[in-house]
């Protein structure tokens, strides 16, 4: 039997909703695990990808420098990299802050926020700095496929992954792109 495909996943500026939706494929997860194995992923809590993996799935956009480092790490270690869900594809809800300056956002949260004591903008070498604008993934690295949806439905995940694993074009059919 051919060796299993290695798959890594992570969530950047996302809500983990896309990961939850992946788990919603329910018992089909067992079929999936017949042909793939997870490398770095919240599912097994591995922190780094060792060597190369076949497929990387990234949920969420880029809000800070750490997100950028993780994204670059994935790009370097994934043969195929997929932008998963609204936030990764377009920036999504977190990108609503792009209408304001970073100072306005931080003032609202840490200076003028209700109930804030000892008001100050956090500064610590351990905290990743925020980017001035939230960015979708494809603006920073090459992305091979986009899997849209908020979140992509379990069926969308299933269709996308099975088609891709079978070596076919994983584009979603119309019924999986309709949200009304």
């Amino acid at each position: 039997m051919a060796s299993k495909l290695k798959v890594a996943t992570c969530s950047l500026a996302g809500c983990f909703g896309c990961h939850m939706s992946l788990l919603d494929i329910d018992e089909r997860l067992l079929d999936l695990l017949e042909v793939i194995e997870f490398d770095r992923s919240p599912i097994n809590d591995l922190k780094r990808i060792e060597g190369m993996v076949d497929l990387g799935l990234i949920e969420g956009g880029l809000c800070n420098s750490e997100n950028v480092h993780v994204l670059r790490h994935f790009r370097e270690h994934c043969r195929i990299l997929v932008s998963v869900g609204e936030c990764a594809v377009t920036g999504g809800i977190p990108s609503m802050r792009n209408h304001y300056s970073l100072r306005e956002c931080l003032d609202e949260a840490y200076i003028r926020g209700v109930g804030v004591e000892n008001a100050q903008i956090p500064s610590d070498a351990e905290l990743p700095l925020l980017l001035d604008k939230l960015r979708p993934l494809h603006e920073v690295v090459r992305i091979d496929h986009h899997l849209p949806g908020c979140p992509p439905s379990a069926d969308a995940f299933w269709h996308f992954l099975t088609e891709l694993i079978a070596g076919r074009d994983p584009s979603l059919p119309l019924q999986l792109l309709r949200y009304d």
Binding site: L102, R103, L106, L129, L130, D132, R135, V141
Partner: protein
Amino acid sequence: MPQATAAPVQEALLPILQRFDTDSQNLLQILVEIQHALHCVPPEAVDLVAAHLGATRAHVRGVVGFYSFLSDHYLGDYVIHLSDNVTDRMLGNRELAEYLCSRLGVKLGKVRADGRASVNFTSCTGMCDQGPAALVNGLAVTRLSRERIDRMVELITARTPVSAWPAEFFEVEDNFRRSDVLFRRPFEPGAAIQAAMLRGGDETLKDIQLEEAVDPASGTLWKRGADETLKELYRSDLRGRGGAGFKAAIKWETCRDTAGGERYVVCNADEGEPGTFKDRVLLHTYADMVFEGMTVCGYVVGSGLGILYIRQEYWYLKPHLEAVLARRREAGLLGGNILGTGFAFDIDLHWGAGAYICGMESAMIESIEGKRGKPRKRWPLPVVAGVRKCPTVVNNVETFAAAGMIALKGGAWFAAHGTMHSTGTKLFCVSGDCERPGIYEYPFGVSVREILRDCGGSEAQAVQVSGPSGTTITRSEFDRVLAYEDLSSVGTMMVFGPGRDMFEVVENFSHFFQHESCGLCTPCRVGTSLLVNLVDKVARGKGSPMDLDEIQKLSHIMKTTAHCGLGQTAPNHLLDSLLKFRPVWDARMMTTEFEPAFDLDEALEEARQLSGRDDAGAHL
């Protein structure tokens, strides 16, 4: 500062409103007059106009927001718009803009603090053969130079009204370099209408007075003349000169045969395709021919009203056109009793307000109805349900001019010129790197090489045929011919000499389409912006082959899914350039790996300042 306040607004507005009845179709024309009077459409004016027409304020504001030349804030005592076509850029308009701004002490796009003046760029103003061009308080200024700008600044500083500026600033030349059968001889006003009405009569009739020959009550000869003129139009095989090439006779007959009360004849003089200026010359020097063609059309299809929809950039032609119309009314060539036959037809002027999309016929009809110029759904066609949902013929200025001559001289005469599927002659607007830019009339079938030789542009490395939405052709293609069989065209020929960087051409064109997208459909509204982002990214040396693939992909989506011709043709110049001028793209490729369009470390700068950090972890 002469910022408009409520009382003067009302004072200025009343005479304008009095000239227009309360038909909501007048909205755009009223707003154009207000903009000219006040250099803005202030909120008080929006209220007054809304009340006058019984429209909502939101509707009025929506129309103000749509058109480039309407503004909700005061643009200054002197409003300067600099034409920004690629031909203006080739003549150095960017340096002149900088010079003008520094001399006036204004920032581009901002009104000077004392309200004296503002300077903005605008899309091509149709003066490509005598640029760099501008509009000052709506009037066309040609051949800008540092000297001319110095004098303009003096006049502005001295508060000299534009009406007292030197006439030479506003001189617009025809530059009609080559005429053929259509425009070679002077046109006798009335001759075409008379010929149309007498068509099909026996020879003896031609010797007697028209009013004796026609019986308005029974309309026998009247109808026969119209039918026979339509047959001549079929014989001529005249195709629309706006670029699409639809057969005029089919359009006219469909309009005539469609049931409906009123019928309209609309002449499309929006001429927004950058590099095009033939309609300007026709309306200046051959206005009688154009109006005559419209009148013949009214006679054939049974219409009583013609509308000349003319772009705002040609506002300087207003007194001239109104005088020609008045003269024609006096001569019995327009009005309630044309040539004494009882046939009634008149022509109204409708002014655009700065929107390329309004050259698209259904968007133009929306604009004629006083609304935002958004294209309608494809069906029903305007010929069946156009202005006020009535059957409407929309033809190009040049088409009407040709139709008038066909009525006069017959279809066979016309069809003897040109090629099998492209009869007659065509006007070409030549601009760019050539010795003799201007208007050239050739029979269809002329080669690009022949035109380049005649205009003194044989050295060219490329020619943009039919404007940014058309085709880019290179030296190896100069033997291609201008005809519907090969290169169909509205007549625009922008010539690029050997020293030109062809990448600057796509930069200009892609920004043009982004600005002019009407916003109705997503593929065009978003697509034109994404294309600009990618072109700008390549220009900054951040491009990679992946970005070029992305341009191809986006172009395909736009060509296949955009709502109208604007979005469908907007990527043409990029695809042509990638195919034919790949080296100018490759020269800007600094990497084969994908790179962000922006500087990531720069994106952390604000956060560094806010947190006071500058350690290694604070950089990317």
